[in-house]
Every structure is written in structure tokens, then in C-alpha cells.
């Protein structure tokens, strides 16, 4: 069994991470009734004996759960959010050896996070990550959670990504990035995002972009559905997808509902690594199957069912609806329309009571309406995990490597250029030592070339590409 470590950076990263740990604990508690420390738990949690007096908690393998510690490193340059976590109900799953904090924050400035805090915290971060890694007997994957708009998440987050690459080149790096919406209150967010994206494009194995706007829309729609009150349209109260209720954290905070969605994305993504299933998908298979070209590793994700209805029985019609929904616009976690763009590859991560035959039937049914790139007409990767999310009978996470991410990047580029043309706010960045205007031009040209790569693929859509002439053998 392999292990993963979550590295959560900045306010947003820590809030999302916090929701993840809460839901993960709940999920395991639901499945693991006997309180045994099993392989599923060992993926993200250590089991330690805290009563030992010699300081360093030693890991216990097997047996009863004593005290679970998250395999996580929490990084923030302000103390607020991390302190809140440490005083909250989740305080016991973290300890001081997992925290890297400072007091003054990065002031929404990528350069401060990346160029000042990065080198300053480097030693501390590496040491704490290494310590977490030493507790794993086969570390497979880092999950970095951060936002793109602010200073710490984007600046320090992308710096940490580089550290992980340098220190652990063999370990996969899957990044969950929360993109700012167009009406973002941080005026410099386009700068921060574009500067961070260059690092993501070069150094991550996979990036799961999520944008605030889509999360808001999804949450609003869930609220609307649950207040409609039609019979049969009642949202299940105990569903983990839509609320944190029943978890360790009691009262909901403003962003909780949105962060929940992102936490669910990670929960489903790692389900196959944590639980058994008839068709397992190892985390190292994600990049192998979904990333045909090194820089094109942005995967659009969608979760279904989101607007859960309180039906006990699951007619096949509803199961098929789950598959259909995964490809519709309003289930995507970024504003994108995969159906009208070009698929490079697609993975379906299914949980719960679903058979291989259901999977095959739905792929056959949906395939004709989904444009795939000519050389990967059968670009499907599937996995079946037998344990559904709490409160559901089944669920689906679709990961698409699709050119539909392009509009998000184009919009970001436009917003960047609007500021950059007027050199607005530039001096805040150039104050920082080692930060030159060249960093900006390099970052924007990295983004432009990424967009160009997607455009070139997009251009092949609906083109009848004949088979490439084969090698001929002289007989």
C-alpha cells in the first residue's frame, strides 16, 4: 500500500485541506466500524501512540486506532486560519511538527510569497515534508492545495512545488489550484495567477483547476434545489457532497460549502487508492493515461451526483443520468464546456454499486456525442471503487484532459494584459529583490504558448484525419 502527503498552502489551501481531512475521517469512520487501523486509513493517516513520553511519536502498524495523525504539512504566512484549525475539532490530527507559519502575510503579492518567503521558509518546509515522508514506507504522491489569486498560495505554493520536485523527483505531484473569478476582490490576482501558472506548467504532473465562480454556482444550485421542497426533491441531509454536517466541524463557515466540493474532488480521486475495487486506478496511472504532452496536464473535473435526490432505489435510468451529467456544463468545477471542445483523454472514477457492464454501456452511449482527438478515439481510463461516498449509493468523478480549459486561460491572459499594459501595480512586485520585468514577460509567454498548444489541437477537431500511412515492409 502506498501513501500520500497533502501539502496545503495559504488561506484557501488550508481551508480546503481542512474540509478534506474532516470528510476523509468521516468516510473512514463510516466504513471502518471496528476502529481498526487498516491499509485504507494508512494512505493518508498515521496511527501513533501519543502516550509515549520520548517526544517523537512512533507509528503503530495494524491493531486498534490510537491516535490518527494526518499526513499533511500546513503552510501559511498568516496565523489566522492555521490557528483556527488548531483550536477547532480537527486539532488532534495535526501537531506542531507539521506547521510552517509566519505572522505578516504576503499581501496578495506573488513576489513576496515566492521570492521572500520561499527562500526564507525553504529549510523549514523541506524538513517538515521530509519528516512526513519518513513516516511513509512507500510515498507515492503529493497533493498540493492552493489558490492562484493571492500571495501566499500562489507565490509560496508554487515555490513549494519546486521544492517538492527538487527533493522528491520520484514522487508524483498533483496540484489542486483554485482560480480566481473575474470579479475577484484581489486586484493583482491576474498577475499572481499567471506567474504561478508558469511554475505549474513546468513542474506539476497534473493540475486540477477549480474556479470560484463555478463553485458558487454549484452551491447556489444545491441550495435552490434543497429549498424547493417538492416531494422527492429533498436533498439528503447526511450527504457529504453538499454539507459538512455530521462531520467533526459543527457550524458552517462562509466558504465551507464551496471548499466541500473541492474536498470531495480529492476524496473521490483518492478513493481507489484507499479502498478496494474490481478495477483499481493507482495514482501514478492518472498522469500516464491522461497527459499526452508534458505541459498539457490541466484536467477538468466534474462531480456527480451533485444535486442528490433522496431516492433510496436507484433505477438504471438514474445511474445513466449520473454519467450524462458528468459531461454537462453545470457539473464542471471550472466554467467550461467539454462537450463542445476536444477531448485528449478522459478518466471515469466510479464509486459504489456500479458494474463494469454499466460503465461500458455508458461509455458506448456517450461516445458519439463527445469529440475525441483523432489519435485517441478510445482514450478512456476507468476505475471502479466498491466504497461509495457517505450518504450515496454511487458517485462519479470525471477527469477530462480537454481543450475547454483554454477560455479560462485566455480570460486570465486578457486580465493580465489589461494591468500589464499600464504597468499597474508593477512596482509592488519589482521592489522585491530578484523580481524583474522579465519574470512577467516569461510568465505570459509561457501561458500564451500553452494556449497556442491547445488551439492547435482544437483546430484538428471535426477534421477528417486519415490514418497515418504505415511503415511498409519490402517483401
Amino acid at each position: 500500500m502506498t501513501q500520500s502527503i497533502i501539502v496545503q498552502v495559504g488561506q484557501c489551501g488550508n481551508q480546503v485541506g481542512c474540509r478534506f481531512w474532516d470528510l476523509a475521517l468521516r468516510e473512514h469512520a463510516h466504513v471502518n466500524k471496528k476502529g481498526i487501523y487498516d491499509e485504507a486509513l494508512s494512505n493518508f493517516f498515521r496511527n501513533v501512540d501519543t502516550r509515549r513520553s520520548d517526544g517523537e511519536n512512533s507509528d503503530i502498524t495494524g491493531g486498534k486506532i490510537r491516535s490518527l495523525k494526518a499526513r499533511a504539512v500546513l503552510i501559511d504566512m498568516e496565523e489566522g486560519v492555521v490557528n483556527e484549525i488548531l483550536q477547532g475539532p480537527l486539532r488532534d490530527v495535526f501537531d506542531n511538527t507539521q506547521l510552517v507559519t509566519d505572522v505578516s502575510g504576503s499581501g496578495n503579492n506573488w513576489a513576496v510569497g515566492h521570492r521572500i518567503y520561499g527562500p526564507a521558509c525553504q529549510e523549514q518546509v523541506v524538513e517538515k515534508v521530509r519528516r512526513a515522508a519518513e513516516h511513509c514506507d512507500s510515498l507515492q504522491c503529493f497533493f498540493l492545495i492552493h489558490s492562484m489569486g493571492g500571495g501566499t498560495g500562489s507565490g509560496l505554493g508554487s515555490y513549494v512545488l519546486r521544492l517538492l520536485e527538487d527533493e522528491f523527483p520520484e514522487v508524483y505531484r498533483i496540484v489542486t489550484s483554485v482560480y480566481p473569478s473575474a470579479e475577484d476582490d484581489v486586484i493583482t490576482s491576474p498577475y499572481n495567477s499567471v506567474l504561478a501558472m508558469r511554475e505549474l506548467s513546468e513542474r506539476a504532473d497534473c493540475v486540477l483547476p477549480v474556479d470560484n465562480q463555478s463553485l458558487v454556482e454549484i452551491v447556489n444550485k444545491i441550495r435552490y434545489m434543497s429549498h424547493q421542497g417538492k416531494p422527492g426533491h429533498v436533498i439528503k441531509k447526511d450527504s457529504t457532497v453538499i454539507s459538512g454536517q455530521g462531520g467533526a466541524c459543527g457550524a458552517e463557515k462562509p466558504f465551507d460549502a464551496m471548499n466541500n466540493i473541492v474536498a470531495n474532488l480529492l476524496l473521490n480521486l483518492t478513493s481507489s487508492a484507499r479502498f478496494d475495487g474490481s478495477l483499481n486506478m493507482d495514482l501514478n496511472e492518472i498522469a500516464m493515461n491522461l497527459v499526452p504532452f508534458p505541459r498539457l496536464h490541466y484536467l477538468v473535473s466534474s462531480l456527480t451526483p451533485l444535486y442528490t435526490l433522496a431516492d433510496v432505489s436507484v433505477p438504471p435510468r438514474r445511474l445513466d443520468q449520473m454519467f450524462t451529467d458528468a459531461f454537462s456544463r453545470d457539473h464542471q468545477l471550472i466554467r467550461a464546456d467539454p462537450k463542445h471542445s476536444l477531448y485528449l483523454a478522459c478518466a471515469l472514477v466510479v464509486r459504489g454499486n456500479v458494474q463494469v457492464s454499466d460503465l461500458r454501456r455508458n461509455i458506448e452511449r456517450l461516445k458519439p456525442s463527445l469529440p475525441f482527438v483523432s489519435w485517441n478515439q478510445e482514450g478512456w481510463k476507468t476505475s471502479l471503487c466498491s466504497v461509495p461516498p457517505v450518504g450515496h449509493t454511487h458517485s462519479l468523478l470525471a477527469l477530462a484532459n480537454n481543450t475547454c480549459v483554454k477560455p479560462t486561460f485566455l480570460e486570465l491572459k486578457d486580465r493580465f494584459m489589461k494591468l500589464y499594459r499600464k504597468k499597474a501595480h508593477l512596482h509592488h512586485y519589482l521592489h522585491v529583490e530578484g523580481m524583474e520585468q522579465g519574470c512577467f514577460t516569461e510568465a505570459i509567454s509561457s501561458l500564451s504558448s500553452l494556449i497556442e498548444e491547445y488551439s492547435q489541437l482544437d483546430a484538428t477537431k471535426r477534421m477528417l484525419t486519415p490514418d497515418v500511412p504505415r511503415l511498409t515492409i519490402a517483401t
Binding site: 500500500m1 502506498t2 514506507d137 512507500s138 507515492q140 474490481s278 478495477l279 483499481n280 493507482d282 501514478n284 496511472e285 498522469a287 500516464m288 493515461n289 491522461l290 497527459v291 499526452p292 504532452f293 508534458p294 485528449l344 483523454a345 458494474q355 463494469v356 457492464s357 461509455i363 483523432s374 489519435w375 485517441n376 478510445e378 482514450g379 478512456w380 481510463k381 476507468t382 476505475s383 490514418d467 497515418v468 504505415r470 511503415l471 511498409t472 515492409i473 517483401t475
Partner: protein
């Protein structure tokens, strides 16, 4: 003579376990249902092939299990121990904690060399425990990372270590739309490398076996375990003791060697496909009866019309008159006639001496350069196999795998033209040139089989 089986990767370990299951069950039943000398010899011969007796009296499989993650191996060992009939040898497995992630290059260039010593040592130990080694049977899929990549590397090591022993590779080909997106790359790399190393490659395609499960066995929700059972049944029907000459008591002493000498007569042609008849669910088996002429008539038509299943055979296809040169090739294409290089027919069950396999000796079935008498062999055994009163299996070195191979290479080539996914391979040391070499090698194979 004994066969050492080497199970690699998830698929190899699952199929391998099913095979030993079928073989041991069949041997025990033979002894039970046929108390005479005959049953005893069959039983002893079958067990000696795949198992050895440990000091405790327990039967241990002459098998080595290899995977890069522990799940499947643990499961296989536990299931075998529960069977009460046999177990895997103590410590005869090797596993790591992290899989190869569907990446052939990782298996071949990283995991293979890294664990070569340990794995080769396990095989050597098992080989030294055989009084006489018939050959090594490796089992793996071609689609994934560990089985295909590491399996290829280990086959290479074994070839160096045992240059004079037979190595038979059993390969499972993936569904055409499958669980792994890069499966065609992995398959191309595996097949092209193995072609240099193997004495023969016995192929099962998931697609055809899936159809057998659905249409003949009437299984509603087909699982991988159902598929593996069919593969194990077909393999078992070949590898269980059978008489290669004429007298019933003298069972073949080297199943792998005899198989190779019958079928793999030319270094250019190593792809062996299988079909068996009958296949049916145990519930309908009790109400069915078969005659040898009926079974053989179907099996022959399955061969010439290239059907891997007794249902939906195209009876229009017939053996073309024997002619020479280009004219013949064209006509064959129109008729969809499947030309063979060599065939091996294995008959098991009641009244086997009455079975007349003369129809398989028609010269039109074979290439122009090998006389039918040299190209066709029959093995037989009076013992019914795996619960079937009468059963027949045909292993064929023919054009039947041409179409799936051609499709596989075509899809991989299309992908390669855009250089998609290549970076995943180059980072572990498989270059574009390596790919090109592999494509060239397989185009050569395709061309050879097309001209048969």
C-alpha cells in the same frame, strides 16, 4: 517433466492461479473417477508437471509470482491456501509496494533491472527443484506496466540464463477499448521485444473470451474472474497430460517442447491462437451430449472461418482449391479464409480413438511450403477434461491474430505520429528510435503472416 510457471503483474497472477486450480482439480477428479492405472498415471503426471511435494507432504506449485504491488499476490496466495489441495511455495513470490503505473518503460527499464537478481534467483530455485525441466511458462498481459514491461525484461534474463530451455509466453491481449489508454503502445513494445526472445506466444484476447462468457456461458455480469476461468480452461486442456504418439499409456514427457516442435516451426511465425469446443455453463452441461464428428466439424469451420467461438460461425467460408502465387492470396482475402502454418489438435474424453481428424489434413488449409502431414499434429487422452465428457482444443499458428495485431499496431502508430505520450516513455529510457524499431519489427510480422 515439469513446467515452471512465472506469473507477472495483476493479470498474470490471476490467470496463473486459475490455471493451477483447473489443473489440480482435473487431476484429482481423474484419479477419483477413473480408479485404474490410467487415472493414476494421469494424476501423477499432471501433478508432477505443475507441483512438487514438500517435506510436509503438501503440494506446492512450481510457480513464481511477481508483481510490483502486493494486493493481487496476497490474494492469490490466500486463495490457493484455502483450496486445501495445493499452495504456493514458501517465499516463491516477489512484490514491491508501488506499481508500474501502466508504463511499460518503467517496468522494463526501472523495475526489471532493479529486481532482476531477486526474481531470477526465485526462478532458479524452482528450476533446480525439477528433476527434468520441460520449459518455462510465463503469464502476463501486454497492456499494463508490470506484466508487460517487467515481464519482457525478465523473459530476456531467462533467455540468457536458460538458452537451451523452452520459453513459452502466455499473453493476454486487452479489450480493444480498455482500461488503459496507452495499452497499444505497451502491447507494441512487448510483442516486438518478445518476438526476439520467445519460442512461442500463446495469445488470448479479452474481447473474444468476453464473448464466450456472454454467449456460451450465459454470464450476465461478466467479471475478470469469469474471463480468467475460460483462459485457464483452454490452457489447461493443452497442458494436461496427453498422448502424442498413438498408445494411450505413454503420456508426452515434454508438453512445452512437443507443443513448440508441432507449432513454432519458423522463427518468423510465433503467434499461437487457441479455440476450444465445447464451452458451456455447468448447468446446461448435464443435459448435453456431443459426438466427435460434430465437435470436429465445428472446430474445423471455426479454424477456416477464423471464429474463436462455436456460435456465429460463417459456414460460407470454405477451403479454396490449392493454387499458387498471388492469385491465391487475393482469393483468400475475398473469402476471409484463414490460412494456417501449423495446427495442433488436442482431443480429450470418451471414445477418443473413434475421432477422425482427417479433415484437418486438407492441403488447402496450409501454406504452400509445408506439407499437411508436417503441419498438423493430434494429441489425445481418454481422460475427460474439467468435467467435459468430450472436448477438443485447437492451437493454431495461423492468420487468425493478424487482424487484431494489425489494429493494435495501427492505433499505436496513429498515436505515435503525434508523438502523444512519448515523453512518459523517454523519461525512463525508451526513445523514439526504440519505438520505431518496435513498429518495424511488428510490421514485418504482419507482412509475413499476410503472405502466408
Amino acid at each position: 517433466m515439469s513446467v515452471v510457471t512465472l506469473n507477472l503483474g495483476q493479470c498474470g497472477n490471476q490467470v496463473g492461479q486459475e490455471l493451477l486450480n483447473v489443473v489440480s482439480n482435473d487431476a484429482f477428479n481423474a484419479q477419483k473417477n477413473c480408479p485404474g492405472v490410467q487415472g493414476k498415471t494421469y494424476y501423477a503426471c499432471a501433478l508432477d508437471r505443475f507441483f512438487r511435494e514438500e517435506q510436509t507432504g503438501e503440494l506446492a506449485a512450481r510457480a513464481v509470482l511477481i508483481d510490483m504491488e502486493p494486493k493481487v499476490i496476497n490474494h492469490a496466495i490466500a486463495t490457493a491456501a484455502k483450496s486445501d489441495m495445493w499452495k504456493y511455495g514458501d517465499g516463491s513470490y516477489f512484490c514491491e509496494k508501488q506499481g508500474s503505473g501502466n508504463n511499460w518503460a518503467k517496468g522494463f527499464c526501472v523495475h526489471g533491472p532493479q529486481h532482476e537478481e531477486a526474481v531470477v534467483e526465485l526462478v532458479r530455485r524452482e528450476v533446480e527443484r525439477c528433476d527434468r525441466l520441460a520449459g518455462i511458462l510465463t503469464m502476463m498481459s501486454v497492456a499494463g506496466g508490470t506484466g508487460s514491461g517487467m515481464g519482457t525484461y525478465i523473459t530476456q534474463c531467462l533467455r540468457d540464463m536458460y538458452p537451451h530451455s523452452f520459453i513459452l509466453n502466455h499473453l493476454t491481449w486487452p479489450y480493444s477499448t480498455g482500461e488503459v489508454i496507452v495499452q497499444n503502445y505497451n502491447s507494441v513494445l512487448t510483442l516486438s521485444h518478445l518476438y526476439q526472445l520467445s519460442d512461442g506466444m500463446l495469445v488470448h484476447e479479452n474481447d473474444t473470451v468476453h464473448k464466450i462468457c456472454a454467449q456460451l456461458m450465459n454470464i450476465k455480469h461478466i467479471s475478470f474472474s469469469d474471463i480468467n476461468k475460460i483462459i485457464a480452461h483452454q490452457l489447461g486442456s493443452v497442458l494436461q497430460p496427453a498422448d502424442v504418439g498413438g498408445t494411450q499409456s505413454d503420456y508426452s514427457r515434454n508438453p512445452v517442447g512437443d507443443l513448440m516442435s508441432s507449432l513454432a516451426c519458423h522463427a518468423e511465425y510465433k503467434l499461437l491462437s487457441m479455440s476450444a469446443i465445447p464451452h458451456m455453463s455447468s448447468s446446461s452441461l448435464a443435459y448435453s451430449s456431443f459426438t466427435w464428428p460434430g465437435l470436429l466439424k465445428h472446430l474445423r469451420q471455426m479454424l477456416i472461418a477464423n471464429a474463436r467461438m462455436e456460435e456465429g460461425i460463417d459456414w460460407q467460408v470454405c477451403v479454396p482449391p490449392v493454387r499458387q502465387g498471388a492469385e491465391r492470396t487475393r482469393e483468400i482475402k475475398q473469402l476471409q479464409f484463414n490460412t494456417s502454418l501449423a495446427n495442433l489438435l488436442i482431443l480429450r474424453g470418451k471414445d477418443v480413438s473413434c475421432a477422425d481428424s482427417g479433415a484437418f489434413l486438407h492441403p488447402g488449409l496450409y501454406s504452400s511450403w509445408l506439407p499437411p502431414e508436417a503441419a498438423f499434429r493430434t494429441w489425445s487422452s481418454l481422460m475427460p477434461f474439467n468435467g467435459y465428457e468430450k472436448s477438443a482444443t485447437l492451437i493454431s499458428n495461423s492468420q487468425s491474430l493478424l487482424q487484431p495485431l494489425n489494429k493494435m499496431v495501427g492505433k499505436a502508430w496513429n498515436m505515435f505520429a503525434s508523438r502523444a505520450y512519448i515523453h512518459q516513455y523517454t523519461r525512463f529510457g525508451i526513445s523514439e528510435e526504440d519505438f520505431l524499431d518496435s513498429f518495424t519489427a511488428l510490421e514485418q510480422v504482419i507482412s509475413s503472416y499476410t503472405c502466408l
